[in-house]
Symmetry: C2
Subunit: 105 residues, 2 copies
DNA sequence: TTGACGGGTAGGGGATTTCCTACCTATTGT
DNA sequence: ACAATAGGTAGGAAATCCCCTACCCGTCAA
């Protein structure tokens, strides 16, 4: 599994996407993140592990707390992957779909 | 599972992302798509089903062929989801550039 | 020092994924 | 009409995912 694969796989879970959204407000300890989820803490720990291994979060230990921070850089891969499709949904919005269809066949 | 969930889940598979990439060249029958994958056709059919249910492809029957087309519009959800993170990876890049500039001194 | 707290790991169970082979339908060419 | 072709569905096996409980370590406070 390449790194981009891991990033897309990590984003496949709504829980993990929610974690990233929460981290937009800044680094937070696990407990605070856990308040937002209806699951036991070890399960959240595993989600954090997936995010860590995809490079999407980092942790900083401080006393008995572990602050998790957003690492958005791998998301650039997603944005880059998305680029070639952009013109297609823009075309759709502009009502140019018929034109595209003619081009295609 | 909401629609955005389905889209992210569909993109989690490298095979399905490859299918979308192939469809950038225009609608194609299943056979032609299958040439690019090391798997039996029914397995590919199931991947196509996942893409269909996520709204990422559509099919048009013509004779005994089924032409699959890219439907990029749901990808806009992904792009929208990405937006709030953009400034973070830009910040990171700027930081790296600053570091490099310092080193160059 | 001892308990409580923050948070990770181990291991298991059920659900889901992903591949397979076998089979089915619809269309086309002979 | 019949065989071949395009491609979907059925059902099963293996792997993976996601949640759980039980347990572990490190840190802080009494």
């Amino acid at each position: 599994m390449g790194r981009t694969d891991e990033v897309f796989a990590a984003l496949a879970s709504p829980v993990r996407r929610d974690v990233l959204r929460l981290l937009l407000d800044g680094p937070q300890p696990v407990q605070r993140l856990a308040e937002h989820f209806d699951m036991r803490r070890p399960s959240l720990s595993e989600h954090l592990k997936v995010l860590r291994e995809a490079g999407l979060v980092s942790e900083r230990r401080q006393g008995r707390f572990r602050y998790y921070s957003l690492e958005a850089e791998p998301l650039r891969d997603v944005a880059d992957w998305l680029t070639p499709y952009e013109r297609f949904w823009r075309a759709k919005l502009a009502g140019l779909r018929d034109l595209l269809d003619e081009e295609e066949l």
